[in-house]
Amino acid sequence: MSALTGTGILYRLALRRDRIALPVWVYVGTGMVASTVFSFRKLYDTEESRRTFAAGIDGNGSLRALYGPIFDGSTIGGLTAWRMGVFGAVLAGLMSTLLVVRHTRAEEEDGRLELIGAGAVGRRAPLTAALATAATACLALALLVAAALLAAGQAAAGSLAFGLALGATGLLFAALAAVTAQLAETGRAANGLAGAAIGVAFVLRAIGDSSAGARWVSWLSPIGWAEQVRPFAADRWWVLALPLGAAALLTALGYALVERRDLGAGLLPQRPGPAVAAPGLRSAAALARRLQRGPLLGWTLAFAAAGAVFGGVAKGVVDLIGDNRQMADLMARLGGTQGVLDSYLASIATIFGMISAVYAVQSVLRLRAEEAAGRAEPVLATAVSRLGWAAGHLVFPLLGSALMLAVAGTAAGLTEGAAVGGGVGHAVGDMLAAALVQLPAVWLTAAVALAVLGLLPRWSAAGWAGFAVFVLIAWLGPILQLSQWVLDLSPFSHLPHLPGGEATAAPLLWITALTALTALAGLAGLRRRDLG
């Protein structure tokens, strides 16, 4: 039996298990690139307007740190490669990491790989199948992105170079995940290690791209390599050899590690836990805090960083938009009609609101996850009421989302105030209000998920449907110029546009009232229904 026996079966199994997730990743990535091309075509329809825009960005260090440099801003393709290069590479990296870990370490952790390993399956087969799955996704992403650019009338060579740059970066991070999956003992830790590597790669190229004296630093980062392919500018194909070569080396390392360890074991030591519970761990609420505090901390830190970045680039964005009518219009539709700076700030507050709704829905659905995994049952077989159990978790969507928004608003106010000038204290106050005013809509989104969980437990994944409807309408509605009654279906459309807009309490109050009713319906359902 060779080390690869069974790879084909495992590969088909992985594709079958990912028949929804994998296409979603690829379509989302392609869709983001396609919508960017589409909006650039609309916003900058003359070469002159594109050159002005590109020159503005090149003069702005904070924007280069976020998106990278523009190598050729005269074409739509060049602008798209700038705007989506770094983010597309990060997306491809995340996609590959999650796919590889899901089919290797996470399977091993759950004991399913043991079942498979006992069959006629070679030692290297699971890792090979996982890498093949990720490679399939990367190739599909590369080709579809190239096709989308071609369809938008962009140069063939540049389109292909851009697609392949993203795909090759994805492949590299897939190989990296193949290594972290051998090091860590849990899927979560393996994802964490690979995710941290993506973060480091992002920051390294941010440093290189924003500082004229240290351009070489970008070459230390795989995401920097993706930029340096320079699609639509130079189409430097040879740069693709860097991520592909690194992927080959990392894959070889992953195989070597597979051969050297036992099934189930990691190479990093596993820390034991305490033999006795801390005195505070004595209620369902304390258990919920213990389970939910990690994700909340991660989200809050990410919101702090994102707030600081988006606040910091405020000045650059305003300068850029300044004389572009369409862009200002779009911003106004999303953020309100009160001057470019304020409408930019209001639009990022809206985006923070929508993203914190992801957290809110996720932390509500934790209840269902606990129930479905059978972990709620022993807790509810003790002197804990269903509502008490639920309340312990629901504190997080309620107050955790408030904390995240407050942190993001404060951070954005600090950096924006410092960059634009005119009083940091004032800016912080404005941005804090702008972020917190999102809360009623975030809560309503979470309450919809709670109602689904309480009334239709088997359809809990539909808790995301409320989120999807609300956010898609509020986000894409203004861009697609949907009619007002459609926009009115989303609570996010009713929030006051702060800073700058008129702060009216009425919509906040009725959205909150609706939230309370929806949540009560969910809780009533949860109290009455069968559990398990």
Binding site: L281, P378, L380, A381
Partner: protein, 301 residues
Amino acid sequence: MTTAISVSGLVKTFGRTRALDGLDLEVERGEVHGFLGPNGSGKSTTIRVLLGLLRADSGTAALLGGDPWRDAVELHRRIAYVPGDVTLWRNLSGGEAIDLLGRLRGGLDHGRRAALLERFELDPTKKGRAYSKGNRQKVALVAAFAGDAELLILDEPTSGLDPLMEEVFRECVAEARDRGATVLLSSHILSEVEALCDRVSIIRAGRTVETGTLADLRHLTRTSVDAELAGTPPRPAYAHDLTIAGNRLRCQVDSEQLGKLLAELTAVGVRSLTSRPPTLEELFLRHYASDAEDTEAAAAR
């Protein structure tokens, strides 16, 4: 009040499946009651109704004098539950899970907790995800036995334990009974039930088919007889599975016919005689074998 659990005519359906179909169950205080049935017969569903996790469609259930649905929280202070398939929180250690479950119920005895960890040879510092099935089961068992619950509800608690640990489990159940606790032990391992239980209820397809002490149940069933006789053995019509080889007779008879058979045998002259009460296994097989025959008969029709 001497009844710990009293269930009658319990019905629970899930969509088209009728999981419980008029189930009855009486458990006296202070007894260890075996709750026997094959997989899918409704044992866990009954237990979930008793824990107030599921709401029955019809029928009545009373637990320690209360209503399992309405008084769930109050009742649960007096109950310890061990599920058949224990899942633990990945990032909590076994020790933390034991303490948490114990405290949620109202506290546990620290001396007994330490002794149980030792007896079950359980390392409490491992994280939940690192435990094997048997060790996860031990975590739940230690949490249950370290408390002072009046009623222990154990749903196939030994399915992941090795024979040595099963012995420890049996000791723990006996100790709990000596403390005055009532135990409902759901199982399909007959030797376990035979060794531990005062009374047994056997269920099949959501219905109780037999209930009583082991002696009662055996009384209703056949005894195996193996006799070496002085002359030609008789061929009684009421004997089942009769085999005769020379002067040797082997058969099974219903308990009420045992006296008659012995009289006939003595008339011929008995050289040696062994008779054995039916094991629970035979008892059990009889119920499920007849079930299979019913199905076959139904299929034949």
